[in-house]
Amino acid sequence: MIEFIEILLMLLILFDLALLGVSRLKTCITISSLQGMLLGIFTVLAHTQGLTLRIALIAAAAFVLKGFLFPRLLGRSIREASVSLELEPYIGYIPSVIAGLALLGASLWLGAKLPLSSAIGIPLVVPAALMTFFTGLFLIIARKNALTQCLGYIIVENGIYIIGVASVVEIPMLVELGILLDASVAVLVMGVAIYHINREFDHIETDRLDTLKG
């Protein structure tokens, strides 16, 4: 079973690397949706021994929200705001992938150092979580499109989710549900905000919005 979970986590990391190298917004959204579905499956697999109704619900919520709802909402914002479909990076795609590999190395190193890893029992959980987290942050920093900020936020949340699900079972589930709710509201608000920003300024490029600061 651990091997199977490891393969799942490797797929998650591959999706992270793909997110860094992909140039189309729609592909990015598809990848994030696939990642969300994997997270739902991961939740169930990580708790095959003590699978309670609560965990099953969390898994289902993650699967549906991250796999279907968020991508749908993001897709709608693309349509309504007629966002440009290229990502317009500050850092090019190949340098991004190289940076991603460096981040992956750092994650593996940190994962080996942290005592948390041995507590969980699956060696790849912490590195995968950290890598997903870093990828999200990187997307927020390195892409101009305002929608990628939102996407990066979802990816960061995925990272937190992995570690939350794998490490502790009971109470943090409540916290996790809270974050899930937060994230969905944020995606919703962001969608509306992007629509309005776009109508006001005819673009959603963050570097140009920067000059608005007084």
Binding site: E6, I7, M10, I13, L14, L17, A18, G21, S23, Y93, I94, V97, I98, G100, L101, L104, G105, L108, A112, P123, P127
Partner: protein, 298 residues
């Protein structure tokens, strides 16, 4: 033992040009055409061998050396790579580095010969070739390093006899090597082997000025290179499951033909990538290899 080594070499030397025939027949079958004869590559080589060669007045000995060194390097690579579950003719610790750079030597001389013609057109092709090769080489080397680390040996023969594709790291390496295979053998999506259109050519453009026996050498060398890289992939994919030689040989040749059919199907299914996108795909291959390497060293 000796007999097995010689069968493998003979198999490679004889069957290598057949791969391109299988790829072309697969493409033809998918497109609903009859296609060229399976042995077309042999006919082409034979035809070119009988012709005389024409040399440009600006070309020096480098231009004549290119095809010869290319073919010699391909044969050397054939000796290093083990096939069908038996040892390679030339096996020692660290031969995987020699393997990578024997292929590199062939490329280096092809590029020199292309530059030696003095044609800016071939210079452009050489520039592209070197650029893409620089991106494909990390993928190949990191992939081989992963297998070496996983199996704990530095010799291709031992690596391939102990590796089997049941670990996720090796699956990643296989995917990366598959991309390198397509790139190094100028197949779609990197280069379209059927075009003679200036702006899309990468490998083909470098050898335009070669003719006669020189061109036959280049064609045969390219076929051998495809066979060598293919047998590397098949070797990692196909563990030595039986001690019966004929069975292993049959499985190996079958797997090589299957690889050729797969390449044909890929070529039928997709178009050549835009030149700007090619580095991205190669970077993805390198990322896969490096990721696999990180997983085995952690």
């Amino acid at each position: 033992m000796q007999a097995a080594v010689f069968t493998n070499l003979a198999l490679g030397l004889v069957l290598a040009p057949l791969l391109s025939g299988i790829i072309n027949r697969t493409k033809a079958a998918v497109a609903g055409r009859k296609g060229q004869p399976l042995l077309q590559a042999y006919f082409d080589i034979y035809k070119n061998l009988r012709k005389g060669a024409v040399y440009s007045t600006t070309a020096s000995w480098l231009f004549r050396a290119g095809p010869v060194v290319g073919l010699a390097a391909a044969v050397a690579a054939l000796c290093i790579v083990p096939a069908s579950g038996s040892a390679a003719a030339l096996a020692f610790a660290g031969d995987l580095v020699l393997f990578a750079y024997v292929l590199g030597l062939a490329r280096f001389f092809t590029v020199l010969a292309a530059l030696d013609t003095g044609s800016s057109f071939e210079g452009m092709g050489a520039s592209r070739e070197v650029f893409f090769a620089a991106l494909a080489e990390p993928a190949l080397l990191a992939g081989l390093a992963t297998v070496a680390r996983k199996t704990g040996t530095l010799s291709l023969t031992e690596m391939i006899s102990t590796a089997s594709a049941n670990s996720p790291e090796l699956v990643l390496v296989l995917a990366a090597l598959g991309i390198v295979f397509l790139c190094e053998n100028c197949r779609i999506p990197f280069d379209d082997p059927t075009t003679h259109l200036e702006l899309t050519m990468i490998h083909e453009v470098m050898v335009l000025d070669h003719s006669g026996p020189d061109f036959a050498f280049i064609q045969y060398g390219a076929a051998l290179k495809a066979w060598v890289l293919g047998s590397l992939i098949v070797g990692i994919l196909l563990p030595a499951f039986s001690s019966s030689r004929p069975l292993m040989l049959a499985c190996f040749v079958g797997a090589m033909f299957l690889l050729a059919v797969t390449v044909g199907l890929i070529e039928s299914g997709m178009a050549r990538l835009r030149l700007l996108r090619v580095p991205q795909l190669l970077a993805a291959a390198s990322a896969l290899s490096v990721f696999a390497f990180m997983l085995v060293v952690r």
